[in-house]
């Protein structure tokens, strides 16, 4: 067990190292310069440009820049080029904004997908299954922002509920209960939107796993023992079908940073996705690189967690 953990950590660290190199190269080798050092930019005089270059070591060769950047990253000193704030602080702020969206979305997705998928599998071919299948396909195929706009128009016109942004402007003067309700209203639509696509995909996957498990011999044995259908489906079949999902659970970790640029843009939600998007536009290298690094670290941590979970949950794999 320990050797597995050790090997895994080493491999993942090496991968992270390579990811950092690749992302660094992509950013710096792409044509175009950050707006702050672009000689065409009329806002900055040549002296400011030069100072900027010196400050951020942009005149040094690439590998030196690389070392400087990561030294700053690990000591927490990286600073955004756009507004001179500490990058880590910025990320943390936006992360806190994205977090409720992420949690609510994930909760909705995972709690709804399983019952839908299981019921579809057990009553395969029936009305429920066919309807659920069709709806899933519909939700997967609809362009995200199109669906968002339809939902917004519908909700605003029928329920008169505020949807844009994280909270209604000026609500800080209202009572706590109002504020909480307001927050919840604002949270609802974006997370539901994000969740629908997830539910569609996940429930299909649950269904196909359940179908595969239901066809196994040990389900036949369970029936032959005289167990009730509930025991057969939920104790025997589901427990086996659950295995890949436990591992998937580890992989939702990267979603923390990912967020969805599109949803955040539509709802003007000040989250991680939008920050990264704006950084890309402004060629704010420190922000882009840091976000990239953190997200890669999360992906690797996520795969590590899911490998561990798989070890724990499947008795056939014991190291």
């Amino acid at each position: 067990m320990l050797s597995f953990i050790g090997r895994s950590v080493i491999q993942k660290t090496i991968t992270l190292f390579f990811v950092s190199i690749v992302s660094f190269l992509i950013i710096h080798l792409a044509p175009g310069k950050p707006s702050q050092v672009n000689p065409m930019n009329p806002k900055f005089t040549p002296e400011i440009l030069e100072r900027f270059q010196k400050e951020f070591h942009l005149d040094k060769p690439l590998y030196v820049q690389y070392l400087y950047f990561y030294r700053d990253l690990f000591t927490g000193k990286t600073v955004s080029w756009k507004d001179n704030q500490s990058v880590l602080l910025k990320i943390w702020e936006r992360f806190l904004n994205s977090l409720p969206l992420f949690i609510v979305g994930t909760l909705i997705t995972w709690t709804l997908s399983f019952p839908v998928g299981i019921r579809s599998a057990i009553h395969r071919g029936g009305i429920y299954d066919r309807t659920a299948t069709f709806l899933s396909y519909l939700l997967i195929s609809i362009p995200g922002f199109f669906f968002a706009y339809i939902l917004i128009i519908f909700v605003v016109n029928h329920f008169h509920v505020p949807v844009i942004g994280m909270e209604t402007f000026g609500i800080t003067n209202a009572s706590i209960a109002h504020m909480i309700m307001d927050r919840i209203w604002h949270l609802l639509l974006p997370s539901v939107l994000g969740a629908t696509g997830g539910i569609a995909i996940l429930s299909r996957y649950v269904r196909s796993q359940m179908l595969e498990v239901e066809g196994q011999d040990y389900i036949r044995t369970a029936k032959a023992k005289g167990l009730t259908p509930d025991q057969v489906h939920y104790k025997h079949a589901f427990r086996n079908a659950l295995l890949p999902f436990v591992t998937m659970f580890g992989l939702i970790l990267p979603g923390l940073i990912g967020g969805s640029v599109i949803i955040e843009t539509i709802f003007s939600w000040p989250g991680m996705g939008r920050m990264a998007y704006e950084a890309i536009l402004a060629r704010d290298y420190p922000v882009i690189l840091t976000v990239n690094f953190v997200s890669a670290a999360l992906v690797l941590a996520g795969t590590f967690v899911s490998d561990l979970l798989y070890l724990v949950v499947d008795p056939r794999i014991r190291l």
């Binding site: 991968t15 950013i27 044509p31 060769p61 195929s141 843009t265």
Partner: protein
């Protein structure tokens, strides 16, 4: 028991009736009949394809039948099926059939014509992007799956690193360092050639042993590359590259293709790993058939099934990605029209001219839906395990 000794000749041997033979096409047709959704998907896919081709013909050239680029500022934001204001237009500005089938956009362009043109462009984006990703995926997956156990020697890795580093440095005009690295490359080649000596392992000096030793297997190397690529959230990667590169339709296609080959690689590798152990490969090897012929002629046709499924679904995803990129402003630049373009242009007028959003949105929905349905249907058809469960 004397019939055991009876001489059995050909006339006595009556074959018991077997199931009628079915060609692949018949099996395909039968499966489509059963899985109605997949059949619908296939039908719409064919329809879309025909639309795209006719659309291309009808809207290209200098005097096209439906002109997507004709700007008529007097006719801004007309609803669908409205008649053009003949008094305000020049004769060549009047649309065919004297009606705006799908209305006009904010520049007065005929939406129907733009949709026709956009069909072909969206289709191309989808197919080219998926083509690239499938090509890379099959290549990488095949090599990882088939040659997986071959090891790469340390000296080979050093050689490649020096080569890439040397070229890179020269490109950045660090000429001296670059040429130094390239010389290192040459020396390593020389070393390799000379290292084919007959000394037994133990007699080799230690440094030679390390340099010529196995560093990493092909399989590990390729899967690590896949892992690295997977660490980048795909949409961000595409967004990053597209935002940094000059906007062009080719860039978008290539970038989407270059960032989605990982799934195919995994599938192909898994299939190759299992197929490689099968008896037909051993039989082919025993007949003396060379490696590449085995890969392409024998194993590949069997491994293609999951690739087809993911390719079909990949086209759908590529079209959706392009729509998303257009929404953020990084889609295919004008004057090309794509459905994503039209949709995202329409978002500014959603209350005044909802048809600008709804028409392309629903069109994308139907086409992507059909691809997804068809892809899932293909998966059911091509999956022998699932077939029996019917």
């Amino acid at each position: 028991m004397n019939h055991a000794e009876k001489h059995i000749d050909a006339s006595d041997y009556i074959e018991a009736p077997l199931a009628p033979k079915r060609t692949r096409l018949q099996a395909f047709g039968r499966m489509l009949k059963q899985n109605r959704l997949a059949a619908l998907g296939f039908f719409i896919f064919v329809l879309f394809f025909l639309c795209a081709v006719t659309g291309l013909i009808l809207t290209s050239g200098t005097k096209p039948l439906f002109n997507p680029a004709m700007v008529r500022l007097e006719e801004k934001l007309r609803p669908p099926l409205s008649k053009p204001n003949l008094k305000a237009l020049r004769p060549d500005q009047v649309p065919v059939l004297n009606v705006y089938l799908m209305g006009t956009d904010d520049l007065g362009r005929d939406v129907f014509a733009r949709m026709l043109q956009g069909a072909w462009v969206s289709l191309t984006v989808g197919f080219v992007a998926v083509g690239i990703s499938v090509f890379i995926g099959i290549f990488m997956g095949g090599i990882a799956g088939y040659f997986g156990q071959h090891h790469i020697k340390t000296i080979h890795i050093l050689f490649c690193l020096c080569l890439i580093g040397g070229i890179g440095l020269i490109w950045i005009n660090a000429a001296s360092a670059g040429t130094a690295l390239l010389l290192l490359c040459l020396s390593s080649i020389v070393f390799l050639l000379s290292a084919r000596d007959k000394l037994p392992e133990k007699a080799r000096p230690v440094w030679k042993g390390i340099l010529l030793g196995n560093a990493v297997s092909v399989d590990t190397l390729i899967m690590r590359i896949v892992d690295i690529m997977l660490c980048f959230p795909s949409f961000f990667l595409i967004l990053t590259v597209v935002a940094l590169l000059p906007a062009s339709i080719y860039n978008i296609m290539i970038v989407i293709g270059l960032t989605s080959w990982m799934g195919t690689t995994r599938f192909v590798r898994a299939e190759f790993l299992s197929l490689r152990e099968q008896d037909f490969v051993a039989a082919a090897k025993a007949l003396g058939i060379g490696n590449f012929r085995i890969i392409f002629r024998h194993i590949m046709p069997n491994a293609v099934a999951p690739v087809l499924v993911s390719a079909t679904i990949g086209i759908a995803t590529a079209i959706l990605t392009e729509a998303g990129l257009s929404f953020l402003g990084f889609g295919v630049p004008p004057p090309h029209a794509t459905w994503g373009n039209i949709l995202s242009d329409g978002k500014n007028f959603i209350f005044d001219a909802p048809w600008l959003t709804f028409i392309p949105g629903i069109a994308i929905l139907i086409v992507v839906l059909s691809f997804n349905l068809f892809g899932e249907g293909l998966r059911d058809i091509l999956n022998p395990k699932l077939r029996e469960r019917h």
